[in-house]
């Protein structure tokens, strides 16, 4: 299945902004983070198709996954 991954802020460093991947069925967000070598600590928010998702969520063909780092300054 095809899944689009969008990275934000420093998660783009040495990776990419947006890229389409081919994944096997039942791939979770956690699997994707692992594959992209993104520590779960650096992924504060994940949206799938514009909706907040848990790391255990299984992805479907055509999904767009956006990953954001923790931002807490004021």
């Amino acid at each position: 299945m095809k899944v689009t991954i969008k990275l934000f802020a420093i998660l783009r460093r040495d990776r990419f902004d947006t890229r389409v991947f081919q994944f096997e069925e039942d791939t979770t967000i956690y699997d994707i983070l692992d594959r992209l070598n993104i520590h779960t600590e650096d992924a504060a928010i994940v949206f799938v198709n514009g909706k907040h998702a848990e790391l255990e969520q299984k992805l479907l063909d055509g999904d767009v996954v956006s990953i954001f780092p923790p931002i807490g300054g004021g």
Partner: protein, 281 residues
């Protein structure tokens, strides 16, 4: 302008009407009315707005904020938790908009490293308590605003006391632990919370619905994580950018303009590549 009319609290309205030009009151007239009647700036503005007169300071608000809405803002109360980068700009904008009561909460003093971005930090205010400085400075910006300065940290045990009277709370804090406490307190007290956060070129804004735990969960899950601002710092353009969005959301809540609120949504900005994302929490 020379004012020759003698007046007291009873004929204040006549005085204001006679000295308004096309229904608009200059600061000098309002100041004179305050001096003679011993009423506060806020009370004089309230009388004016109630009776159809507009203080000149709000004239350029008018296309966006009608007179009755200006009066509603004057009767409103907003608490700003954190008086640093985001908080300073937010407080200034709310004061210029004419929000009548501002509760400013921050235990810290201005330091040299705040000079790069914090609105009320300058060479004269270094070493002074942020909330106290802001209370003083706002007198020069809009004397109709009543400011409560709390120089204690936001702690859930005293949250209800600190936020007493606030219709909206603005999150201008700088840690997920403190944000979790604040979001839980707002949830418990049924006060809408306007969240903002910055780091380097990046920023995010959200509005917590009264009944929702979404932001609380988000903050909780981020506690203890490596926070980006520690690594990237905060340049001068990030606070006013995010702060302006927080203020717009705050005003919409106060004036019950419910459309397009960022309720339970998160807006993430990347000013380096000028990309942004809006998602449902």
């Amino acid at each position: 302008m020379v004012v020759k009319i003698k007046m007291d609290a009873h004929n204040i309205l006549d005085f204001l009407r006679e000295n308004a030009i096309d229904g608009v009151l200059s600061h000098k007239i309002i100041e004179y009315a305050v001096k003679i009647t011993k009423l506060s700036f806020q009370e004089i503005e309230r009388i004016s707005l109630t009776k159809g007169l507009i203080p000149k300071r709000y004239l350029r608000n008018q296309r966006v904020i009608k007179r009755v809405e200006q009066l509603a803002l004057l009767n409103s109360c907003v608490a700003i938790v954190g008086c640093g980068g985001l908080g300073g700009y937010t407080i200034e904008m709310l004061a210029r908009l004419g929000v009548g009561q501002l509760i400013c909460i921050d235990p810290d003093y201005f330091r040299e490293e705040d000079l790069n971005r914090q609105r009320f930090c300058n060479l004269n205010t270094l070493g002074q308590l942020k909330a106290e400085v802001i209370k003083e400075e706002l007198k020069n910006i809009n004397p109709a605003v009543v400011v409560k300065a709390h120089t204690s940290s936001f702690l859930p045990e005293i949250g209800e006391t600190l936020l007493a009277g606030a219709q909206v709370v603005v999150d201008a804090l700088d840690s997920f632990e403190a944000r979790t406490d604040l979001a839980e307190t707002c949830r418990r007290l049924s006060i809408p919370l306007v969240h903002g956060a910055i780091a380097g070129w990046y920023g995010q804004v959200s509005v917590q619905e009264i009944e929702s735990n979404k932001l609380i969960d988000l903050f909780k899950s981020s506690c203890g994580k490596r926070e980006l601002q520690r690594e990237l710092g905060n340049p001068s353009f990030a606070p006013p950018f995010i702060s302006a969005i927080q203020v717009a959301e705050t005003i919409k809540i106060l004036l019950q303009k419910d459309n397009n609120l960022l309720l339970n949504k998160l807006f993430f900005f990347d000013l380096l590549t000028f990309s942004f994302e809006l998602g449902q929490l």
